[in-house]
């Protein structure tokens, strides 16, 4: 099972980790029902200590994004969320309306809504 972390997302996570001086920083992505298209994903920054090894899967970037530090970007997903999101990639988009982490290229998604956080599984 693979999750792609784009360089932009890795950079951003590293920056956050450095400004918070928290080397244990991780991004949790979870899926819930609801949203305009049936499922929506939620994101939160967590501490690697809070990961429940029974339920969660941690993905770590293979290399350090920026050579100034040694933080490797970490993404945490729980079992049902991973089931829906496997094969997708985590990106950090910079747009006029705001910059945000985004899940893109969800393989099972049939359609998604205008804001992009809600999707439907075929």
């Amino acid at each position: 099972m693979n999750i792609t972390i784009t360089p932009r997302a890795a950079h951003r996570l590293q920056t956050i980790s450095e400004t918070d001086s928290n080397p244990e920083l991780a991004l949790r992505v979870s899926v819930e029902s609801g949203g305009c298209h049936g499922f929506q994903y939620l994101m939160s920054l967590i501490n690697a200590k809070d990961i429940d090894p029974a339920e969660d899967t941690v993905f770590e970037n293979e290399e350090v994004a920026r050579k100034t530090g040694d933080y490797k970007a970490k993404i945490v997903m729980d079992e049902p969320s991973l089931e829906l999101l496997k094969g997708s990639s985590i990106d950090y988009t910079m747009e006029l309306i705001g910059s945000q982490f985004k899940v893109t290229g969800i393989p099972g998604a049939k359609s998604s809504c205008g804001c992009g956080t809600s999707f439907d599984i075929a």
Partner: protein
């Protein structure tokens, strides 16, 4: 003197139709049962076409809120039962449902005996598995338990009383889900006079099925259906096809099933956009069917003798479903709607409002005139009957006028 042939060659189509009807009537009186009787002024019908699913657990309100068109969490958390629909992401109806919050009821106490929120969701019996699957698919990690109630575990009844002709539109806080007698219930506020829905635990259903304290006679399911058709209330996926129908075409908005301010739910995007920027040109209206040529002063009433005549032309209701296209009865016979359900001479039509009624929906206005005639053709044979659509006061009252495009002068 020449003998005249028994069958005059110039018999007009109308008379042939009547002859055929009379013959069919004779046949029917021997072979099949007659048309359903007129619904009683007061009564209660056992809704065997509907089943129940129980959701129970701390996340159940939040879960339902994300999937249905109505607001579960109206602060403070909603106590009353309400009407709503599950939609697909593309805004098509999966199922139409009634939701009964059970917390605080006798049934909830016996079944779960705790303070966690719980709901009973009432759904078309044929779509029970579909809804159960839909809920399972979206459950993920939500903390609640889903259980399909056994048939007969709880009886669903619709009751109506003569004096209760004008059911008020229930305000959201006053509509408790528990009736005076202590049963789980819902004011059926889809249209005035639809009465009350009651969930009777199997223990209270004695021989006849109805507890004596309600002082109501049992009526057949057809009575409920006819009352529904006369008011223009569609229900179940035989009437609004699953994953094809748009909620507003089927009056779900007018029947109080959609909260346009609640926030995200599945299917919200299209629904809200249509509400605010679009025009709903087609809606379900009650229709009356008659012999062609007789449709002058038709009234919206069920008539079991007329019902037999219509059955003889179109076939027995339910025989051919997706009952057929409603067309303008002129040379071109252009379609103006669809007959979606029928019992005898009354039914429901999905009608183009500006062609089949005097309602003005868009800027163009209605093209309807009292001399316009519409008809529906039989599935088999060349028989056809006239169709007349009616706009009930409640629909007229809840519809908004056409939007005026305001031009901004610069």
């Amino acid at each position: 003197m020449p003998v005249r042939s028994t069958r005059a060659p110039w018999t007009c189509a109308q008379c042939l139709l009547k002859q055929k009807a009379r013959r069919a009537l004779l046949r029917r009186s021997i072979s099949t049962s007659a048309a359903p009787p007129l619904p009683p002024a007061s009564g209660a019908a056992h809704l065997t076409t509907r089943r129940l699913i129980s959701l129970h657990g701390p996340d159940s309100p939040k879960f339902l809120q994300g999937l249905i068109t109505n607001n579960v969490l109206t602060p403070p958390a909603r106590q009353g039962s309400f009407y709503a629909a599950f939609l697909t992401g593309q805004g098509r109806v999966v199922v139409d449902v009634f939701v009964y919050p059970t917390q605080g009821s006798r049934w909830h106490g016996q079944a779960y005996g705790d303070g966690e929120p719980g709901y009973l969701v009432e759904v078309d019996a044929n779509e029970l598995e579909v809804l159960a699957k839909h809920i399972k698919k979206h459950k993920l990690r939500s903390k609640f338990k889903m259980r399909v109630l056994e048939e007969g575990e709880m009886g669903l009844w619709s009751s109506w009383r003569e004096e209760g002709r004008w059911t008020a539109h229930p305000s959201q806080d006053s509509n408790q889900s528990i009736s005076e007698e202590g049963y789980l219930s819902a004011t059926d506020a889809r249209a005035p006079g639809m009465g009350t829905r009651l969930l009777l635990p199997s223990s209270s259903q004695s021989g006849s099925g109805l507890p004596a304290e309600l002082e109501l006679e049992e009526a057949p399911l057809s009575a409920y259906t006819i009352r529904r058709y006369l008011r223009g209330v569609p229900e179940g996926q035989r009437e609004f096809a699953r994953e094809e129908s748009l909620p507003m075409n089927f009056n779900v908005d007018l029947m109080g099933g959609i909260d346009f301010k609640k926030g995200c739910y599945t299917g919200q995007e299209l629904t809200v956009r249509t509400h605010h920027t679009g025009v709903v040109r087609r809606r379900v209206l009650p229709v009356v069917l008659q012999s062609r040529g007789e449709e002058g002063g038709a009234d919206l009433v069920y008539d079991s003798s007329a019902a037999e005549l219509i059955d003889s032309v179109l076939g027995h209701e339910g025989a051919g479903l997706g009952e057929g296209e409603i067309r303008r009865d002129d040379q071109r016979k252009r379609p103006t709607g669809k007959l979606i359900a029928r019992t005898g001479n009354v039914g429901l039509g999905l009608c183009r409002l500006e062609q089949m009624s005097d309602l003005s929906i868009s800027g163009e206005g209605s093209s309807f005139g009292p001399e316009d005639r519409f008809m529906v053709q039989a599935k088999e044979g060349d028989g056809a009957v006239a169709v007349k659509a009616f706009v009930p006061d409640w629909i007229r009252g809840r519809l908004r006028g056409p939007k005026v495009q305001k031009r901004v002068e610069m």
